[in-house]
Symmetry: C2
Subunit: 354 residues, 2 copies
Amino acid sequence: MKKNILIIPGDGIGQEVTTWGKKVLEKIGENYGHEFSFDEAIMGHTAIEATGNPLPDETLAKAKASDAILFGAIGHIKYDNDPSAKVRPEQGLLKIRKELGLYANLRPILLFDELLDASSLKPEILQGTDILFFRELTGDVYFGEKNRNEDNTFASDLMNYHRYEVERIARKAYEAARTRNKRLCSVDKANVLETSRLWREVVQELAKEYTDVETEHMFIDNAAMQLVKNPKKFDVVLTANLFGDILTDEASQIAGSMGMLASASVGDGTGFFEPIHGSAHDIAGQNKANPLASILSAALMLDISFGLQEEAKTVTNAVAETLKAGWRTGDIANSSTEASKILGTQEMGQKVLE
Amino acid sequence: MKKNILIIPGDGIGQEVTTWGKKVLEKIGENYGHEFSFDEAIMGHTAIEATGNPLPDETLAKAKASDAILFGAIGHIKYDNDPSAKVRPEQGLLKIRKELGLYANLRPILLFDELLDASSLKPEILQGTDILFFRELTGDVYFGEKNRNEDNTFASDLMNYHRYEVERIARKAYEAARTRNKRLCSVDKANVLETSRLWREVVQELAKEYTDVETEHMFIDNAAMQLVKNPKKFDVVLTANLFGDILTDEASQIAGSMGMLASASVGDGTGFFEPIHGSAHDIAGQNKANPLASILSAALMLDISFGLQEEAKTVTNAVAETLKAGWRTGDIANSSTEASKILGTQEMGQKVLE
Ligand SMILES: CC(C)[C@H](C(=O)O)[C@@H](O)C(=O)O
Ligand SMILES: CC(C)[C@H](C(=O)O)[C@@H](O)C(=O)O
């Protein structure tokens, strides 16, 4: 198989972690005889510094021309502290999601038995949890019209959904539920929001088509609670952009750390694969970041964009074995981890490669 | 002291639990020589059934004339399943919040040592947690203009804030932080939302006035994660209506159960006190609901609306002692609770009264 892969390291720890995602893809290419060729492009703060634009035209052109994209992280504290900045790193990420039509963001909450202890949740609550989130990614209040009045006394963002936007991601979620435990929980705030009421109507209609899947509707506040109380009860979770952002970060604690979670954004064309963690500038360049989310993002790419299930499994197994052998980065270590088993980004990446 | 208290049981378990909040207030009145007089009014599904209106004029008039309100719960599964219903129970609650100017919703996450085991979080993660949420309650996407186009293919809700709305609740939160551990965490999504950028600007300005309080800004996705990972790090949390709805429900798991959490809504006039739990129709009328959140709501009323700190403390202590004696309702029992110690709503209420 021949594939062009674009690496977009982005900001902060993005560079360090994508290095290892890429090395794993190279290794898989060698071992299985695939021709993976790589290119690189800039986005976010890094791109603003270099060109003034968080998503330069060249990056977008390369992205559209590639077969799949491995992305690192985005954001910079400078902008977080300056709410009035007009050009912002995150605009790059939002624009590429929109331009590539990446409307479905899949976030599997993969639980490695070895990490049961790394979570703040009790092991008996976690054991057996296996959730696949479908977060809508190109609509909602993220992309609605934004306003600020002239004297800075009022600001607004339009939360909104079109029926077709809800339907296309709901279909993907239902199809996935069919291959899993056949349960779908749609999360909204239909007791308050009109957008959510439209969302619920569309899902109710689809539920009639997917009668082999058990459909449940849950309010976002309740879902945020149930996810901590009893995560096992979820199989496929379908939700809007903003609610999905919140719930999946929360759910990262089920997997022990944000440093473990990969995500796949898919839609009309090229797939986009990234860790759910952020740019973590506080640890950037210190060889501390956990490369496993980027490596697992590479595995998702193999599986979802290239249909290489066996290769994907090889990567996931390599991660599992590394954990089984006791190796940990700082974020997934706990008080009973031997100090000699705590690795930096590079050493952890190397262990998985081996 | 002479006070008129309005009881609004609302829907579902609301009736059962407010009964006990009221009994506790009566008892405190007797014991401390206060003249508390009580009236009752309808709201929500109950009011729709009786009058067609989720907030009848008579209820609103009584509410405005009272010194404080003890509310139960709102909502009915019938409407949850029918997103197209025009008249909905929740409209009653939203309208009374708006009409009474209840812009600040205080939700203390009170941790009883006896309930450390009832949580799905590890005891060592919980121990020492003490958070006070300030949730904005009369703005945000809850009250912005709602739209649905004619052919039902599009829906929207306007998320919005005025500067003065952010400032008045931020001040309340800062004042509270001064009397506590002097840390304030403001939660927003300023990397994406214009509304959040205005929010952050206003809080940054106030931070310059409250230099004795340490201010932190956190994105909502990160906050949802940190709340599970390390709840101890929070003192006062200040946030918008929607984010506060989500975070406080999530935080209920820190306290072991939603059945334990009380809230106070305050603003321009009459204070409004309610459990954060919902109407729970599945257990309504079965003597299963936990009355402690309603009883603790009554304690908040004594403290915040009437300035009766000693009386409030007496109620909180009575709850703590009941728990210490081993008594539990089903929601806060765990595998090591003796069956004979598990009580119904009435018996639990009675124990606290004694
Ligand atoms: C960086 C930010 C814009 C982004 C989002 O909110 O979508 C991130 O939190 C994510 O979840 O991918
Ligand atoms: C019932 C509902 C409208 C309400 C809200 O979202 O505010 C409830 O969840 C709450 O938190 O008080």
